[in-house]
């Protein structure tokens, strides 16, 4: 009696050229998906864009000394949702005012610098939520040195909702592309299973169970899916890294290139690769089943 044949990479051993074409296509697609995934992970959808443009301004009382103001700024910077807190003294505030409204220099002549010092607080992109903004503003309002907190209370909820919708739309588009990968992959697997039907029937006639064939094809699809997704995402990440280095203005919307190497980013890529492996295996099994139902 013959020994059990190894069925690993059976499609590769039976028919290489179409598989090479499919593999190249999938790799390029994963490069695109990887680029999009990493962009979304770093940017948090629209969060980084909004966080880059949103700031809480704590206007300090006129009598607050610079040392006290800087101490307060350091304390605020220690709050979990805060990315940065910078003190601007009255002179700096006046200079900024003039840059924004040129030609209003005569205002100062009447009674000295009318501007007060303030602390500009920026929120971390991943903590830009109503609750976290409330946490920071309520902490600031309880400080006697602070005269007024400007946090855009009227329009912030609308802005955050728009940001959430934009993020959802971005992830939705990404999900649609992933679903597209699954559907196209299923069609490719079905076409390949049909093309190799004669070979599979040959093997089945010679004692190779169809289930074993389907299992090993799916397992090979999972392994290749994982490797292709990991390699494609790495290549996409490289392209994103170069883009961020070449066009620094993108950092405002996407994030710094160094974030690509954060453990959470790498963990997300590993998770994505596992998901791609599962999708590839499912596409293989469904394609196999569809091909068998056509043959029957």
């Amino acid at each position: 009696m013959s020994e059990r044949p190894s069925l690993w990479w059976i499609d590769w051993r039976l028919s290489r050229p179409p598989l090479v074409r499919e593999t190249i296509g999938r790799f390029l697609y994963f490069c695109l998906l990887g680029f999009a995934l990493l962009s979304l992970l770093l940017s948090g959808g629209a969060s980084r864009f909004l966080a880059d443009r949103y700031a809480i301004t704590a206007v300090l009382r006129a009598e607050v000394p610079p040392a006290g103001a800087e101490g307060l700024a350091r304390k605020v910077a220690g709050l979990p949702p805060v990315r940065s807190a910078a003190y601007r003294d009255p002179e700096a505030a006046w200079a900024e005012f003039l840059r924004a409204y040129p030609g209003l220099d005569p205002l100062r002549g009447a009674g000295g610098n009318p501007m007060q010092g303030y602390i500009e607080i920026r929120i971390r992109p991943d903590r830009l939520t109503g609750a976290d903004v409330d946490l920071v503003t309520s902490a600031l309002r309880s400080v006697p040195l602070v005269e007024q907190v400007l946090a855009g209370d009227e329009w912030l909820p609308r802005l955050l909702r728009a940001g959430r919708l934009a993020s959802l739309a971005c992830w939705g588009i990404f999900g649609a592309f992933l679903a597209g990968f699954f559907l196209v992959g299923r069609l490719q697997e079905r076409a390949r299973a049909l093309a190799l039907a004669g070979d599979f029937a040959f093997l089945a006639e010679r004692g190779v169970p169809a289930r074993r064939l389907a299992f090993f094809r799916a397992a090979a699809a999972a392994v290749s899916g994982f490797l292709l997704a990991a390699a494609g995402t790495a290549a996409g990440g490289g392209a994103l890294f170069l883009s961020l280095r070449k066009f620094p203005f993108l950092e405002g919307a996407i994030g710094p290139p160094s974030d690509l190497l954060l453990p959470r980013t790498i963990a997300a890529v590993a998770l994505f690769s596992c998901g791609a492996a599962l999708l590839s295996a499912a596409a293989s099994l469904l394609g196999w089943r569809a091909a068998r139902s056509v043959r029957k």
Binding site: M1, S2, E3, R4, P5, S6, I10, R13, L14, G198, D199, F202, L203, E205, R206, G207, V208, P209
Partner: protein
Amino acid sequence: MIEGFRLGVFSRGATLWDGLDIAFGDAAAWFVAGPPSSGKTLLLSILRGERRPDAGDVVVSGESLYRGSAAHARAWRASCGHVPEQTIADARLTVGDLFRRSALAGGGVRESERKDRADRLLEMVGLPGSLEWRIAELSISERVRACLAAELLRGPKVLFCDGVVAGAGIPSREMLWGLFRALAREGNTVVLAERTIPERWALAAGDAEPVGPFRVYRLPLPGAKGDPG
């Protein structure tokens, strides 16, 4: 030993045969002759474990193929070689693909070894240097011989050939006569299904045993009594 007990087949709305008792001993070459549409191909597929008979059972090495364990049936099929009546199903393949596929079914053979053995087998069946040839471009005789050579690559313990002698043509008969008997002498079992037995083979085999619509001959082994050489 392959034994069919009380085999019956219902096909195309009629009973093709029923109550068929047939046995093929090990290490022998058997020739089953039967008229067209008598169910020769069906008989081979039943004996190979591919198609459950509508009545009766097939016993191989003392265990039923259809009522025994699935592992036994799989192992049996893995030990079998089968050269079918020629179809156009494999037309897209090359002769080399047939060998690659056969090697895969046999548990994998190293590529260099496969090529070496394929070259020798193809030379033996009169198709030297044909590894790159496309099946679609081969004649019926060449296809039969290429398929036979590819099956022999795995060294099957039992070889079922359906219409191979007729398909290969008269010029290949001597080669096949020698090949099948040599396989039997080496301990393999060969079962051939054909419409008619070549006259010289029938003379050498002696009296046939009538089994249902078939006549079953046992070909003499080389050097045995009655062997014409």
